[in-house]
């Protein structure tokens, strides 16, 4: 008979090793679909590595891809820390992006020093508003935020299409549903010549560091951890649980909004309805791989971005569907879940009772 027993002490090595191992196992599992698609896995992995680390440009592409994932990963990690299930980062990302083009695409012709911060702040505010609504519905009516944030993603996406065919539509866009481009001085400055990687990455890294510090060192972080780990005890101890949840909801939504700002004002320049290939959902995987630690989010985002960029390049070279990347990402989430179990519990095979009787 098998028994499950909680571990007395969680080892640090395990906490760090399990996400890494999960990522490796997920990549190894990808050999099965690769072979099913008729590709040689070794060659395919080689192509993937080359696609990410083969050149400075490849590396910069990976960093570009990681930028929105750090934002959405932080959004998920902080919310999940408080047991607030924000699955709506995808929608909040688009809210941020819409705010960015609404202000930045010619409405206000301000100098860059004013316009860029304005775009960033309004984008974050739009994302925050997007998470404030479900949090209000949760605390006021008890409506499960998982379902409301998921459904809001669809509502916001349809709203986006409406905007892109209406008020935000680019009059010069030849009828395509896309927004006018953000003014040049409103764009986040690029980091390297002739590369797409932009200063949104710096913002993402700074915010990750701030989040890490605040979580461990501030009273705000203390309250958030207490609410997430045991809301009843936090409430009993005099912590205002609703206010803490609202606070983290605003920050989480704001971070997701910044992902949209960063994509539209850092990379694309204009907004379309396919700005995000599911960055919001992938952010959840990033956060889980990171063990909900902000610094971990950066590392996990780099890994996931490598998988996407590598798989894209491998796909071009070998003709295997790039959905392989989504497979690896989802499998690494499932692996890290199981890994978390192994870190928390010991599985004991106890001597059979029957033999003794």
């Amino acid at each position: 008979m098998i028994r499950i027993e909680p571990r007395q002490h969680r080892s640090r090595t395990m906490d760090l090793g399990i996400p890494v191992l999960s990522a490796v196992i997920a990549l190894a599992f990808a050999a099965i679909p690769l072979m099913a698609a008729g590709a040689n896995p070794i060659t395919a992995y080689g192509e993937m590595v080359k696609g990410v680390f083969g050149s400075v440009f490849a590396l910069s592409e990976m960093l570009t891809r990681a930028t929105p994932l750090i934002f959405t990963g932080l959004a998920a990690a902080l919310a999940f820390r408080a047991k607030l299930w924000n699955i709506g980062a995808e929608g909040q990302l688009y809210l941020g992006a819409m705010a960015a083009v609404a202000v930045g695409a010619g409405w206000l012709d301000l100098p860059g020093l004013v316009l860029v911060p304005l775009i960033v702040i309004l984008g974050a505010a739009a994302g925050a508003a997007g998470m404030a609504v479900p949090t209000y519905l949760k605390s006021r009516f008890g409506a499960d935020e998982v379902v409301t944030t998921l459904l809001l993603n669809f509502i916001i996406l349809i709203f986006l299409q409406m905007m892109l065919e209406g008020p935000l539509k680019d009059p010069m866009g030849l009828g395509w549903p896309q927004s006018a481009p953000i003014l040049d001085q409103g764009m986040l400055p690029p980091l390297m010549d002739r590369m797409r990687v932009h200063s949104g990455l710096i913002l993402a890294l700074v915010l990750a560091a701030v989040a890490q510090f605040m979580l461990a060192r501030s009273v705000w972080g203390f309250r958030l951890r207490a609410v997430g780990e045991n809301a009843a005890a936090a409430r009993h101890a005099g912590i205002n649980v609703k206010r803490s949840l609202f606070g983290v909801a605003i920050i989480s939504g704001g971070l997701a909004g910044l992902a949209g700002v960063s994509e539209v004002a850092g990379l694309k320049g204009y907004l379309t309805a396919d700005l995000s290939p599911g960055f919001g959902y992938t952010g959840i995987v990033v956060a889980m791989l990171a063990g909900l630690s902000p610094v971990g989010v950066v590392i996990a985002a780099l890994f996931i971005a490598s998988v996407f960029v590598g798989a894209d390049s491998m796909s071009r070279a070998m003709g295997v569907s790039s959905f392989l990347a989504d497979l690896v990402v989802s499998m690494s989430l499932l692996c890290v879940l199981v890994g978390g179990f192994i870190a928390r519990y010991r599985i004991i095979r106890s001597g059979t009772g029957r033999a003794a009787s």
Partner: protein
Amino acid sequence: MMDILNILLSESFWAASLRIATPLIFGVLGALICERAGVLNLGIEGIFVVGAMCGWMAVWLGAGLWGGVLMAALAGAFFGLLHAILTVPLGLSQHVSGLGITLFATSVSYFTYRTALPNVSSPPRIEPFQPLDLPVLSDLPFLGPVLFQQTALTWLALMMVGLVWYVLNRTALGVAIQAVGDNPDSVDAQGLSVYGLRIGAIVAGSALMALGGAFLTMSAFDAFFFGMVNGRGWVCIALVIFASWRPGKALFGALLFGAFDALQVRLQTEMGALVPGQVFLMAPYILSIMALVIAARSADYPRALLQPWFKGQR
């Protein structure tokens, strides 16, 4: 106003309502069984995709329509089993595991479809389920077109409502499932297996969810598209709460949703000039959130929902 009245009186409107409700009936019933046993299954969205893809592909490969239905159910059951293993004996977060299953099931489906059909511009079509043509019944005024010209899958969904109600309320198995979702210790103390009941419920519920997906490719449409499930699974999760975990109310909720969606499409054609079409497209999702908000306060959640249970830890 007259227009709305005309729509509400037309048989095509009610036929469409039932048609739109069909996948939701499967989905809500599936989610209901899982949650009655105490496990939230957010894998539903991905299981819909898998059901849609597998059902379609089986038919496309020549398995026949009912072969496709069976394949869809089996595929759903497989992903349900995965969710069950992660959440029941391992007791992992039902939220995260469910989302993981959705991501995994969706990417498996998309990858398989893309790998099987690398370069097609228009998706290959199958011969889907045809409306039943019953002698006499189909020719009845109003009822004929609304009820008796639906496909066999719609009838299967309606029969499932009765079956699930009967099993839950009239059999020892159903009583045990209700008990395990309320207090697993009650089941354990009476010598029944908590794990067995929960895993079984999740697998069965997931198979039903996959049928909802299969309806999309085998009855509503005749091909598989990326993004065709489009949040229907999440809508089901909202509807379960609205239905307070009862099969009869689940049918009612799905029909209400279907009616609203059908109305929305018709209003869109009538009033499309005045209001952007997206307003109508948003309506079903907003309706779901509203249903959730209305139902949430008084919702009588299964007490053990989301609570992991480990043998020998009481």
